[in-house]
Symmetry: C2
Subunit: 102 residues, 2 copies
């Protein structure tokens, strides 16, 4: 791999809230909209926009269900999403492992 690791960072993954979404989903497998919104401390609209970016990239699946009459939206990470996150973390580690005390 040539070039500085920062050139291998995927901006779709790297954005702060999106990185939070993917790391939660990669750990939990899936999470519902409310859990993501409250944990990441973002608004419904902000979370919705970031989920749309990740969905368009093929990194998450979004499932809208009903529990009784209450809507519930589940979000899960796809195989492509796991791959993108794994590659991104590899590049991040290459950057931060070089930093003394980092």
């Amino acid at each position: 791999m040539t070039g500085h690791p920062s050139t291998r960072l995927d901006d779709t993954v790297h954005q702060r809230v999106r990185l939070g979404i993917l790391t939660i989903l990669a750990t939990a497998g899936r999470a519902d909209f409310t859990y993501l919104r409250d944990n990441l401390e973002v608004t419904d609209g902000n979370l919705g926009r970031h989920l749309e970016v990740l969905y368009q990239a093929g990194y998450v699946e979004i499932e809208k269900t009903f529990e009784g009459r209450r809507p519930r939206t589940w979000v899960s990470i796809t195989r492509a999403g796991r791959r993108a996150l794994k590659d991104h973390i590899l590049a991040l580690r290459q950057m931060i492992d070089e930093v003394p005390g980092g």
Copy 2:
């Protein structure tokens, strides 16, 4: 520390090119403009804009010198820059260490 680590990511540091600048400077101490531009594979204008953001935040010092008649711009990380990068890396590690295989 409460809340998801993504809420402790500093957007001034987190942006891909700026994170690259700070990790290079934290390792090398200082670097010149051309080295940063070529290593991070960005244009003069793009690098200049990111350096301005980091300078305004107090995270880098910029020194314009001449070697003979050739201008040479040196960039170095400040104490505040090292502190911000260290805190940022701590939050990043908390996020990525949880990811299975991450």
